[in-house]
Symmetry: C2
Subunit: 132 residues, 2 copies
DNA sequence: TCCTAATATAAGTTGCAACTTATATTAGGA
DNA sequence: TCCTAATATAAGTTGCAACTTATATTAGGA
């Protein structure tokens, strides 16, 4: 158990996603990159908050590693950052059904396939040596 | 885009997981079921909050569908609820790399395998009819 | 060089969520 | 029936996060 609030990237990501408005912004950016102005107009109009409010949410998402920014003239183009979302997924993995150790269900499946191929190609003596 | 705060199960789950203390409780319960008293003692002692505070957090997690409770005499045994976590995962899926439509990467891979097997077993005429 | 557009930041307000202490509820055991 | 253990709920406080309006910053165009 980690200390609360002692943010690693997972902590920051979950703290940021704890706000409904920021989740709406993420969902919008999930449809594709957008300049801050477009986000402010769409989200702001839909839910009745101001441009500065949206800008502040974008800052929070940025600092949480959930979105990326890129300057284009005077515009700032925002998009989802896969890394931040991956951190969230990684946290969820500890609860995955039958989770044990560093491998989740998919990785286990992939590893099974690789192992089968490996065993089919190698002599038994070498296999025994590595297992010891 | 949904309205903010108009909670479906995903909204409730993310709102609940937005609090660091509740994430610590989830992590503890991830190690195995525990009575409320044990949660209060471990988390409470570790982070300096009272029994009622922990009880309130457990209530929030319960109402968010993230934990299950079962009575055992005067004790309440808490454990993680896979359904709530699945809702969170499902939300994240919309950002999955190369996501398109209802199939995520793994499902696409599984579907590919099934399709190949199906195509290998069926006559070409029947296949054409279904496709139209 | 000035103006405008796009965005971020400063500063202030305010509702609420996360806590507190006190107490109610519930089940079992002597 | 009473006592205790385990937990939840009631009621009150308080810090802060999510907003607001006002303004600073930055880049480009006339």
């Amino acid at each position: 158990m980690n200390a609360p609030g002692t943010g690693g990237p997972v902590e920051a990501a979950f703290n940021a996603l704890g706000d409904p408005m920021r989740r709406r912004i993420m969902e919008l950016l999930g449809e594709g990159e957008r300049p801050a102005g477009a986000v402010a107009e769409i989200v702001g109009t839909a839910f009745g908050i101001s441009q500065p409010a949206v800008s502040q949410h974008l800052k929070a998402l940025r600092e949480a590693g959930l979105v990326t920014v890129r300057a284009e003239g005077t515009r700032r183009i925002y998009g989802v950052d896969a890394d931040g979302l991956a951190a969230v997924r990684a946290w969820l993995d500890r609860f995955a059904d039958g989770f044990a150790g560093p491998l989740d269900a998919l990785e286990t499946e992939l590893a099974r396939g690789r192992r089968e191929r490996r065993l089919a190609e190698r002599p038994a003596r070498e296999r025994r040596r590595r297992a010891a």
